[in-house]
Structure formats: C-alpha cells, structure tokens
C-alpha cells in the first residue's frame, strides 16, 4: 500500500519548482508567524523529501505538523505554475504517517479510536438531539442525513478551553488516557449557546425542506458519523473499514440528502471509490429548495465560500440561492481562491486556526456586517470573531409566506 502512496507522492511533489507562488495564497503561512514548515511550498518540499527518505529508509524528522496543519483548501493549486496540489501532498503524507505509524499524533489516535468504537469522534449529549423534537419524519426512501457536523462543532470549543486550563502536558496525558478509554470524552460538555444555535439551524433546514414539499426520513440519535475525520486525518485503511458500517445503514435508502459540504463531498465522491456496489443518490439540501418560495430583500450580504464547494467538485448553488435573497458581495479571496475559515485546524492547532479565522473574518467584515456561509465548520470557526449566519437561517427569514 505504501508503495502506491509513495509513487503518488513522488508524482505530485517532483513537479514543485519551489517558486513560492503558493505561499502567497496559503492561509497558514502568515498566520503561523511565517513558519516555513507550515506553508504550501514547505509542504511540497518536505513532501518530496519524505518521498526520498522513505524510498531509501526511514523518516528522519517529525514532519507531522507540516501536513496536519494543512487546511485542505486546495487554493495553492490554483496559482501553482506546475499544477502542484500541496493539499493532496498533505493528504498522502498523512496517509503515510498513519500507515507507517511513525509520528502519529496522540490526539488524532484518540479520535480515530473513538470513531472506530463509538461510531462518533466524541460522545454527543442528548441536548444536541433536541432539534427534531416535535417533527415526524416520513417513512420513505429519502433520508435526511446530517453527518453530525452541526452537532459536533459546539464540543470543540470546550475541548480547547480544557486544553488551555489543563496546560499542554496534562492535556496530552488525558488524551493518552482517552486513547485507551475513549468513553472518557462523555464528560466533555458542549458550549451551550453553540448547541442552541446548531439546533436552530437544523430545525430551519427541516422546515425549509418541508416547505419545499420534500419528504424524508430521519435516523435521529441513531445516525452514524460519516467518518469525515478518519478521511481527513489520512486514516484511509480505517476509513475503508468504517464506511462499510455506515453504508450498510444508508443503503436502505435510495436518496441521501446531506446538509454540509464535507459530508456531501465525502458521500458523493469518496464513498464510491471504496464501496464497489455504492448506489446512493447523494443530494445537497440546497438543491431541493424551491427558489420560488424566496423573496429578495434589500439586505447586503458578504458571502464566505466554503473551500469544500470549490476546487475539483465545484458546487455553485449556495451562491445562487443567497443571490436570490439579497445583494451579495464577495471578498477578494472568493470562488476557487477562497480563504479558508481555519476550522479544519481547530482540534490540532487551535491558535493557528484562530489566526486564520480572524484574518478571514476581517476580510468579510470589510464588505458587510451581514456575513453568511453554508458550512457548519465555517460557521462555527468564523463565529469566534463576531456575528455570522448560516444560509439556512437566511432562507428561513426569506420565505415568502
């Protein structure tokens, strides 16, 4: 397996001429204090070195931070004159780290164990499941699958508080216990106001779909986590194993409506690669929204394009819908050159994540105080700097009736 990874790594990284163009767009360069090991060129160059070292022996330096800090925004490839995708290099390197077991991160290992055992990265409390109270799902062949993204985000806040309170050393000690006894994360409390906000958005999504006459079923608290972090942390062997379990649950349906870009991309483009008989119609909920229900107000929105709607699998409907509801401006960094919200680094590099999100928030705020996005990670990450709303909440406010 590692041979295949190495030849892919070689193919991608030898193209790098080390010109540094990508550093000018990589969100983790300036925000990491100009750390050359946490920038796109650094990732391409260190990736090439990783290939060379592994080809002839062992990895000599702990290079995990270089690749785990990559936000996977794939903006670098847009400006690279030889078409190198340092995001892809980081994915391959993380996969190599997890396969060789050298320089794995303890936090990541704990999360992976939790997912494999409890089918979730953390134990989710009941209050995060109150959004469907009073709603009767329809027994039909369409499932509204949340992928637990909205529900999980409020827990990361307290994880960081905990890290701060305990100090790095004892936090890592706790992590290594959590790795052995994953259930310990049951005691991790979510941030209350974030739970409420997530519940409100989830309620709005149900409501919008109902108003658009879309029938759907719900798995409620039995919903499995889609395995996003296994994939994003490069634990592809575990991911392959894990998604068999998820697919067995989902395959009872014909169509799956997803509500966040990460789960949508994972199900639509990654699952089919690993599940030979994959046969699900994966839909994004915004595609089901009846645009005729919406009215256009004179509000001025600044829209943040989530990275996962850009790049190879471009998804444009979020933009179309927001443009149907008001006047929309985009910051200079938009479309396939968007600027990440910093969210993907939240668990492993909280201060880097905050710096990236602060920078992005500033760019958006310069255009309008009315900032909108359509991804729970972006929403959560950017909200640390000030107000931001989810597109579902804007839709709910712009229904004609």
């Amino acid at each position: 397996m590692i041979d295949g990874l190495l030849s892919e790594l070689e193919k991608e990284s030898t193209k790098c001429i080390s010109c540094g163009f990508c550093d000018s767009v990589c969100p983790t360069y300036k925000t990491s204090g100009y750390d050359m090991t946490k920038t796109s060129r650094g990732r391409a160059q260190i990736g090439y070195n990783l290939f060379k070292e592994l080809k002839s022996g062992e990895i000599s330096m702990d290079i995990s931070d270089t690749f785990y800090s990559c936000l996977d925004c794939h903006v670098c490839v847009q400006v690279c004159p030889t078409g190198v995708d340092s995001g892809k290099i980081s994915d391959l390197a993380k996969n190599i780290i997890s396969s060789t077991k050298k320089y794995e991160k303890p936090e990541v290992k704990a999360i992976v164990k939790n997912i494999m055992k409890y089918k979730k990265p953390l134990i989710i409390r009941n209050e995060s499941y109150s959004w469907y109270d009073g709603f009767e799902p329809e027994k039909c062949d369409t499932l509204l699958y949340t992928g637990l993204m909205y529900q999980l985000m409020p827990y990361t806040e307290n994880l960081e508080q905990l890290r701060k309170k305990m100090g790095k050393k004892s936090f890592y000690a706790m992590i290594s216990i959590a790795e052995k006894i994953p259930v310990i994360t049951k005691f991790l409390k979510p941030d209350h106001s974030s739970v409420e906000r997530a519940n409100k958005t989830l309620k709005n999504i149900i409501y919008i779909l109902k108003m658009s006459n879309v029938p759907f079923d719900l798995l409620k608290s039995n919903e499995p986590y889609p395995g996003t972090l296994l994939y994003e942390y490069g634990y592809i062997r575990e991911f392959k194993e894990y998604i068999k379990y998820v697919y067995n649950i989902l395959k009872k349906y014909h169509s799956i409506i997803t509500i966040d870009p990460h789960t949508y991309n994972l199900l639509k483009y990654e699952y089919p690669k690993y599940i030979p008989d994959f046969n699900l119609n994966v839909i994004y909920y915004l595609d089901m929204v009846d645009k005729n229900m919406l009215y256009k107000s004179d509000e001025h929105f600044a829209f943040h394009d989530p990275c996962h709607f850009q790049g190879e699998f471009k998804y444009n409907n979020a933009r179309k819908i927001i443009e149907n509801m008001g006047n929309v401006s985009y910051p200079d960094r938009n479309g396939n050159r968007t600027y990440c919200c910093g969210g993907p680094d939240e668990l492993l590099f909280p201060s880097l994540s905050r710096n990236v999100s602060r920078e992005r928030y500033k760019q958006l705020k310069n255009i309008s105080g009315n900032i909108v996005t359509s991804c729970p990670i972006c929403l959560y990450s950017l909200s640390r700097n000030g107000d931001i709303v989810d597109i579902a909440d804007v839709i709910q406010m712009h229904l004609k009736n």
Partner: protein
C-alpha cells in the same frame, strides 16, 4: 553552532525567531528551480527592524556568513545558504505606507511587490516593474536582483523606480543611499550599485519606491503563429511601427502546451508560439496591434471577451516560464537578453540548439525588451542527460553574447551562471568589471560575510 554565539543571536532577535532545528531549517535550503541546496546553521525570522543591526554585529564579530532571504524565488542559486551560515528571513518585516503627496511608497524589505501594489492601488497608483513572481518577489529581493518583468519594456526595471534605500552594512552599522525625492545628484549613485548586487554588499532594510497613477483601461490581445519566424517578425514589426504596448510577451509551443495540460484548456498549441500584447491607449490602438499581428500571418487572433478569458490568456504566459517543471525532475533557467533587432536570430538559434542537442527547451520571454527565458529540462540524476542540459545552456548563453547581448537580463548570476558570466566578460573585453566588483565588495564587506560564494565574487580578493 557554539551555544554562546547562539544565545547572542537569540538575545538579538528574540526567542522563537531563531531556528536551529533541522526540520525548521529544511525549507531554507534552496531557492527556486535550480536544485542546489545547503542546510544553514541557523535561520532568523526578522520581525523587528532593529534586530538586523544587532545580528550583523554578532555575525561580523564571529565572521559568520549571512544570506538575506526574501521570497526565496531566485532561480540562480543566489539565495542558497552557506553551510555554516545564517539565513535572515526578511519576509516578516513587511510594513508598507503610501505617501501620495510625495509620490512614493515606503516599504520594508520583506513586503512583496504584490503587497506594495495592493496598497498603492487603494490610492489609484501602482509600482510598474512586475516580475511574474510579484506575489512572492519581495522589495529586498527585487532590488537585489534588479528584477524586470512584463511592463519593463515601457517602464524600465526595478532600479529605475527606487529613490532611496535604508541599509544595514556588514559591520552592523546603518546608513541609507539616495533620497526620497525624484531627482538627486548628491554623490555616486549607490542605489543603482545595490540594485542587482545579489545580497553581497549590504542588507536592504527598507526602500522608498516611486509609484505612478494606474493606467486607465488595459486591453489585451494575443496572436498565434505557425512559424517562429512569423512570431518573431510580428514582435519586431510592433516595435518598427512605433507602437508602444504596455506589455509585449512571447510564449512558445511548449509553454502553451504545458499551460493547456495543467489548466485543462485548449488554446492553440501553435508551433510558432503566441505573442501577447497589452495596451492602455484604447481600442484604436488595439486594432493597430491586431493589424500588425495579422500582417505577420497570425493564424488566430484572440481578444478576451470577459475577465476569466482575460486572466487565462495571461496565465499561459506565466505558466510557460515553468513548463519543464511539469515534465522533468530538473531544469535550468535561461535569461538571455539580445538587441531587439536580433530577437529572430536568438529564437532561431535556440531552436537550433534544441534540434542539435535533442533537448527539451520551452522558451518564453519579455519580447518587448529582448529578454528571453529558454528553460531547459532534464533529469539531474542522469549524468549524461544533465550534462547535455548544461551544455545547451552554455551554447545558448554564448549565442546571446555573440549576438551582442548578455547571459542575464533580470535573474542575475547567482551560483549557476558564474562561469558563463566570466566568459561573457572575457569575450567582451570587460574583465575589469569583475576586478572592480571585487574591490567594491571589499569596501562594503571586508570580512566577506554577505552572501559569499555568489555572483562570481569568490572568496579570494588578492
């Protein structure tokens, strides 16, 4: 490094800004394109302008080599560290302030030219020299390489836009050269001397850059040609007809092909290449350019219809520069410049080298000022293949010199072109230049600690 010296550097630069871990030093090993690399002993991130002088004093005291690094995009080895040396990472020192009333921008050395332009644009101004590496080329790097770019046929190169520089000398003393005024005859022109000195004379801390109002509307046109002769004639005719475009650029078949491959586009892979022209004199002017391109048999004329097309056609030229990077493990950057009347001979001559040596050469360039970049690809691990690449580089450099030109228009000499540079000086009977360079170096840097082993200055002054 000796612990005591290291702690002196840490005191001078601040804890956390001095890097000595192999992992942290790794990215400082090389510049771009050339695969020459060397691990420095330490790298220091410069956030505080005052730290530079303190660092230089220590380096001077212990005679430790210092290599200033901006964007690290130099393709000649000029930014490759010395084994026992220090890298000064200037990129974090990047504050910019625009002074519209006096017509200049005050920018610290680590600011990129793109950042300078972004700030200036807010006031309706721009900094004309535009290496295609603007997004990474820093003020300090662009000055020390005297960089050029696409608009330079009209506006000149970086040195023509520098009013004053604040510098730190190798001893750690600080001074400045020039004045932040538009004319100044006070003394020798030291600003011009520092421009293109490749980090060998002093550390540039801050510069005062002349700016000018943004052109009103830029229109763009590209012509695709069947033969190299036709495209070269078109370039020549534009000039001959007294037309003065904003940019006049060239990308050959290989460059267009690479861009198509990377971006999944299908622009014509014209065997005679593409001539790209920007003008800022309105539609009438554009049609004059179009006529010249057509008169010289362009088989396709492309005028962008929207912003995306406008950007994409430019992107072809930009990617063409790095075309061999897509196909080969290594390549050597060519940067010849010839008299405008010899452009056809140069392009033809490059083609002859390609055929004779059976090498891959992708050529693009700033045709408007006779500057071509023949980029030669190959595998550095394959000795005979790489020797053939080096031989081809030498033949092309010699060709440029024979045609009355030079081996470098804008990228400089660095480490990889030292021999060819010396041969050029000998051929032109200008070896005195090298002697004077060495004398000047000795005045500025008697201990030879600033980027030694670069720019044919060697280490031996006797």
């Amino acid at each position: 490094m000796d612990k005591k010296i290291l702690s002196e550097f840490i005191d001078a630069a601040g804890n956390g800004n001095v890097l000595y871990d192999e992992k942290d030093l790794f990215p400082y090993k090389r510049g771009s394109i050339d695969r020459i690399e060397e691990m420095p002993e330490i790298a220091i991130k410069i956030f505080d302008e005052k730290s530079i002088s303190k660092i230089m004093k220590i380096a001077h005291k212990y005679r430790i080599p210092v290599i200033a690094r901006g964007g690290g995009s130099s393709p000649t080895g000029a930014v490759v560290p010395e084994k026992k040396g220090i890298v000064l990472d200037m990129r974090p020192l990047n504050a910019i302030s625009v002074n519209i009333r006096d017509g200049y921008v005050e920018a610290y050395a680590g600011a990129t030219l793109e950042e300078v332009n972004n700030e200036s644009r807010k006031y309706g101004f721009f900094f004309p020299p535009d290496p295609s590496s603007v997004s990474i080329s820093t003020v300090g790097g662009a000055i020390n390489e005297n960089s050029g770019g696409m608009r330079c046929a009209r506006y000149g190169v970086v040195k023509d836009w520098i009013l004053k520089i604040d510098v730190v000398l190798s001893s750690g003393d600080e001074t400045s050269f020039g004045e932040s005024i538009y004319k100044n005859r006070g003394g020798f022109n030291f600003v011009d001397l520092i421009c293109g000195s490749e980090g060998t004379l002093c550390i540039v801390k801050k510069a005062y850059l002349k700016i000018m109002p943004l052109p009103e509307k830029i229109t763009r046109i590209a012509g695709f040609f069947n033969t190299i002769e036709e495209s070269a004639n078109a370039i020549f005719s534009i000039r001959k007809n007294g037309l003065n475009p904003l940019i006049l650029e060239y990308a050959d078949y290989y460059g267009i092909k690479a861009a198509n491959e990377i971006k999944k586009w299908n622009y014509p892979e014209a065997h005679g290449g593409m001539v790209l022209v920007d003008t800022d004199y309105g539609e009438n002017y554009l049609s004059k350019i179009q006529n010249v391109l057509e008169e010289n048999n362009a088989f396709k004329i492309f005028i962008p219809g929207n912003e995306e097309e406008y950007n994409n056609i430019f992107e072809i030229r930009r990617i063409a520069f790095a075309a061999p990077g897509l196909l080969f493990k290594g390549f050597i950057d060519g940067d010849i410049v010839v008299p405008l009347s010899k452009l056809t001979d140069a392009i033809e001559g490059i083609n002859q080298v390609r055929i004779k040596n059976n090498v891959y050469i992708a050529t693009c360039g700033h045709a408007g000022d006779g500057n071509l970049h023949p980029q030669i690809g190959g595998n550095p691990d394959n000795i005979s293949e790489w020797e053939n690449v080096k031989k081809s580089v030498r033949e092309i450099n010699d060709l440029a010199v024979r045609l009355g030109g030079s081996i470098s228009g804008e990228h400089g000499i660095g480490k990889i072109k030292e021999d060819d540079f010396i041969r050029q000086l000998k051929y032109k009977n200008q070896i005195k230049t090298l002697e004077f360079m060495k004398s000047v170096k000795k005045i500025f840097d008697p201990e030879n600690i600033l980027n030694p082993g670069n720019f044919a200055l060697g280490g031996n002054y006797d």
